[in-house]
Every structure is written in C-alpha cells, then in structure tokens.
Symmetry: C3
Subunit: 243 residues, 3 copies
C-alpha cells in the first residue's frame, strides 16, 4: 500500500527540506511552541511563531507553509486565524490544521469549521480529535486527513498511506503530536502531494522516536533524544528501519 | 507527625492517580506550561491548558481538578479565572492556587483574594508568597496551606504534615514549584483529604528530586532526570527513601 | 582590541552577578521564556516574566534590568512596553532590546523605533535584524549595538569588543539568542559599562556553548549541556578557553 513511500522517496523529501530550509509559520499552543521550534530546526526547517493579528500575515507572507494548532487558542490567536487563511488562499500556500482537544470545546469546533473550508487543507489529529471532526471532514472534498496513533493513517487525494513507526513513549511527552504536525507542514512546503509529504514527515518522526526510545531512560529524556535522532537521520537509517 | 503518611499511603495515592488518570486543567504561566504538562504525564495524569475565557469552562468541565497559577497572568487569563471558580464551586471540584510572585503585584493580590473565597481551596507557595498571603489566609477557614522549601509544611484541616525531601537544585530550575502544584492537584482529584493528597504529591516530587540530583550534572539536566524518576517511582523506592 | 576584557574581568563581572543575584524582568516571547529563565538561573540571576499591562511595572520595579524581546509580541505585550520604558527612564534602569525578526514585521519596526528612543539602550540581534535596524540605530547616539554571529561584535560608547566564542549548534536550538540577550541584561544590572557587560555575558555564553558542543549528541541535548556548563563556569575555565 505504501509502495510509493519507500526509503528513497522519504529521503528525497527530507533532503528537499534540508536544502530549501522552508520557513513554517506556526500559530500554535504555548505548551508546544518550544519543542515544535526545536523539532523544525532539527529537521532543517525554520520556525516563526508570530501571533499578533496586526503582524501575523506580514510574518507568514514569505513562509513556505502554515500550521494552525488550536491548543491554548487565545482571543488574539482567534483573530489571527482569518488573516492566515486569507494569506494561504491568496498564495496557495499549504496549511496544516492540528485540532487539539477539539472534542472538548465548541469554540475550537467552530474555528475548525472555518479552517476546513480552505481548499487542499491538511488535518492531523489523534483518534478522538479526528472522530469529532468526521462530520465536517465528510463535507470537505480534497482534504488530507491524518489520524495518528500506533499506526498512522493518511487519507490523501492521491491515496492511502499507513505508517507503522513510533513508540508508546511518544504519547507521554507533551507537544510531540503538535510538533509532528509542524513537520508535516515543512514537507508540504517542498512536496506538492500532501499524502507523500505527510508520509515522509511521519516516517521520519516515527523512526526518530524508535531510536530515541532505545536511548531514553524515560519520558524526561525522550524528547532530547528524539530531536538528536531527527537531526542525524539519513537514508541508510531509513533503509534499515523501513526494512 | 506524619504517621498517617507512610510509604504505603503515598504509594496508594500515586496508584490511584495512575489508575484513574485524572485530567488536571491548568491555567498556568507560559514559562512553566511545558514542564508542568510533562510532569503530570510522568505522574500518570493528563494535562489540559485552555485559557480562552470562551472555552475554559468547557475544557475544564470534565477535569478531575483545577490549578490556577498567577505567573504571567494575562488579561484573558484574568477573565478565565471567574469561569473556573464558578465551575469548581458548582461541581465541588478541587482547586489549587499557586500565587507566583504575589508579593510583587497588587493585581495578583486582588486575584488571590477572589480565589481564596472558594471553600476547600488549596494554596501552595514559597515562603515569601505564603507570608504575603498570610492575612488573607487567616480569614479563610478550611483552606489547606502549603509552604514549600527545604522542609515543606502542609497545614490542612485534617492536620499538619511536614515533608523533608527534595534537593537545592530544585530551586535552580524554572517552573518546578509550579509543576509541584499541578501534582498536588492531580492527587486532590483522587484523594478527598487535601492534606494527604498534598503530602503524597510533595513526597513523590521530593524523592524524584533526590534521585535526579544524584544523576544530574547541573540544573540543565536536572528536570529531565526528575521527570524520568517520577515516571518510574514505585513503592519499593518510596519505602527505601522514606526510611 | 579586547585588552580590557580578559578572563579576570569577565570572571569579576560574573562573580558580581552571582553575588548580587539581580532580577531581570523579561518581556519575552513565549517560545524562549523557559530556556531564558533557566539560563538566568544558571547564571545566578533571577527571572521574572510578567506581561500584563496592569502589573508589569509593579513586578519590574525592583528588577536590576529589563529585557524586551519582540518575538511573539501580543497586543497585551505591546501595551506593556510603554510601562517598561517609563520605568526604565524614571529609574535609569538598564534595558536590552532583542528585535527578533524585526525585518519581517512593520509592527515590530514601529515598536523598535519607540524603544530605541530610550537613552543608553542596548540592542542585541543577528545580522539580518541589526541590518534592518541600522537606519534607526544611526540616529541613536549612546546606544550599544550587539550583532551576534560566528564572531559577536559589540559597538559600545566605551569602544568595540569582538567575541569569537561559541559553536554552530547554537543556531540550531530555539531561544538561545534570546537567552543570551537576557544574560547581557543580567550583566548590565551589575556593570555600568554596557560594552563590558555585554562582552562578559557573551564570552560566558560562547564558552559554555563550546563546552556543551563537546558533550552533546545533537541539538536536542545541547541546551541542557549549555545550561550545565554555564552553571559551573569558573575563572580557571575562562582562562583556559580565552587563551
């Protein structure tokens, strides 16, 4: 099923990120900002995180992709969202939505409804979040839906991809799912097929997680090893790990 | 004095947290959010950190306990506080106040005054913060007062507890005191006696700190080891360390 | 050129920080808050990070120095800036500006223009940021301009200092430049010559970075080792590393 997503293809997309160094503008929650920025840097991309409605479009204008993560959304972040949507629409810029805890908040559900109207939207959430969004997503043709878990499932216009990498410790560290959404955005900045882009990002993230788990003494040391592993991931490692 | 807080009792409260996996809704400062969330996850609890006044009550509604930490309070966070107080009052949900730097800010003192009106409130601060609040606390019957330091002192309706665990490095890492307040909240979600709940949380936190200090090369590596130690703390370790 | 900035001079300024334990009030971006606070603590200083316009001047009033960092500036942070400028002006308190991504945001450029009117202002940015500010800085007599990079260049009223310490990994971890600005502020709290203060801070920071690079397996573990190295930096190490 993943014939089109072998180690060579993943390595090629990662190499394009490392060469192009795309900036990913992240309107993201304050809990995950730091680990998200460090993960993007380790991946070869550049983070920017402006949130002020009066500057967010200026700062995001030259970014290669945009991430909107609804965790700890603030009133100012809420006002920044339409600016980013307008920019993404006008420039055809890739945009990834991470609907953190959307199942708990009617406010986030309303914001997600607006965001999902963007053509070509990519959404990454966990099982509960994606289930809560299912009725909206059913009415969103052309969206790429990514449900992460023990096996990540990517439903893209170009087909279905499943990624079976990663480690349970990844659910014990805050912000890692959020950071993986930023990696998906970074790959979307260099690869026009969002299914392949998401597949490459989540394969790299999952394999870095496997390596980190072998080196960690628990959830405290895990994120550090994950970032180190991501920064040194090469095609040989991908080949070995992807079998 | 701590006859009722031996290793078996502490282990029993920790086991209830690990089994019930209570969600702790944290309205907390942006400096400490990440380490607080990771500490709660290592403890077996689930963090949520919404702050927007239009959603904070929705997100906190099904949480097992609430933490209000006044560090980096924002105008929106200020407006979120009454929503959380109303929720805690209506549901009888445990609420912990962490009055960061209250001695420096008349705004925080006013907010603390409102929060302390909540029946059954639990307050954890350092010596300076608790001293600044002393006049207010004197007029707050039924409150549980926790002053942390070289020896943590817990004055609860059920009695006095003193915890002599921990390490000086814990004062050299930002957000650890804030995170300990979140652990107190997690224990309050499963243990109705706030004195015992706070005692169990601070014993676990202090012992994890002792273990981390033995493994750390300085304050940079300390938090990581603390989280690793907290995630693997078991009754045998508690027994050994509590003598 | 740096005859006045030998290891003994640097050690003397660091010792004054460790003894006076100045509080540095940081109005800084939410991405860098945690690493900035931990770096200040490792340096022997105390961080405070209030941002609410109704309390920021109260909290900063007794601080030894102020940092204003424009990253992730919020509407409330924008309103806090004039309160901090008024305080710095009234008390003659040192103030450091970190103009993150000022080249991307007309809003930040306007804010920087206001801040640069403060007599004795110290500015630290990377090459792109300092170049964008060059026209404003040309009209700012008495300012200290710090351009960090492979070689840090400090142009102070008392002369020119160049610091050739550090490691490329320092650009791969988010918030380290921001944290270095906070260290400059901490030194300005104890040393009246901002050129010497900045030189001492950036020498310590750069040498800690060199030590960290020798101990790190990548950007994930780098910040931890940098903070450990900063916390244990002594005159003997400075002497060896400064040749």
């Amino acid at each position: 099923m993943n014939a089109r997503l072998d180690a060579t293809r993943v390595a090629s997309i990662l190499a394009r990120v490392a060469q192009a160094r795309p900036r990913v503008h992240c309107l993201t929650n304050t809990v995950a900002q730091n680990v998200t920025a460090n993960m993007l840097l380790a991946f070869g991309a550049i983070p920017s995180m402006a949130v002020h409605p009066d500057e967010v479009a200026d700062v995001a204008a030259a970014a290669g992709a945009i991430l909107i993560n609804l965790g700890t959304i603030s009133p100012e972040g809420e006002r920044a969202i339409p600016r980013l949507l307008e920019l993404a629409r006008a420039q055809g810029k890739p945009l990834v939505l991470d609907p953190v805890f959307v199942e708990l908040s009617p406010l986030r559900m309303r914001l997600a409804e607006d965001i999902l109207r963007l053509p070509g939207i990519v959404v990454r959430g966990n099982g509960g979040e994606m289930q809560a969004l299912a009725p909206l997503l059913a009415a969103t043709p052309g969206a790429t839906r990514i449900t992460t878990g023990a096996v990540d499932r990517i439903e893209a216009p170009s087909g279905l991809f499943e990624i079976a990498h990663g480690h349970p410790l990844m659910t014990k560290v805050t912000g890692l799912g959020c950071a993986s959404s930023a990696l998906v955005a970074a790959c979307c900045a260099v690869e026009p097929d969002p299914g392949l882009a998401a597949g490459a990002a989540l394969t790299a993230f999952g394999i870095a997680g496997e390596i980190a788990a072998e080196r960690s003494a628990g959830p405290g040391s895990f994120a550090m090893h994950l970032i180190d592993a991501l920064a040194s991931l090469d095609e040989a490692t991908l080949l070995t790990r992807m079998g």
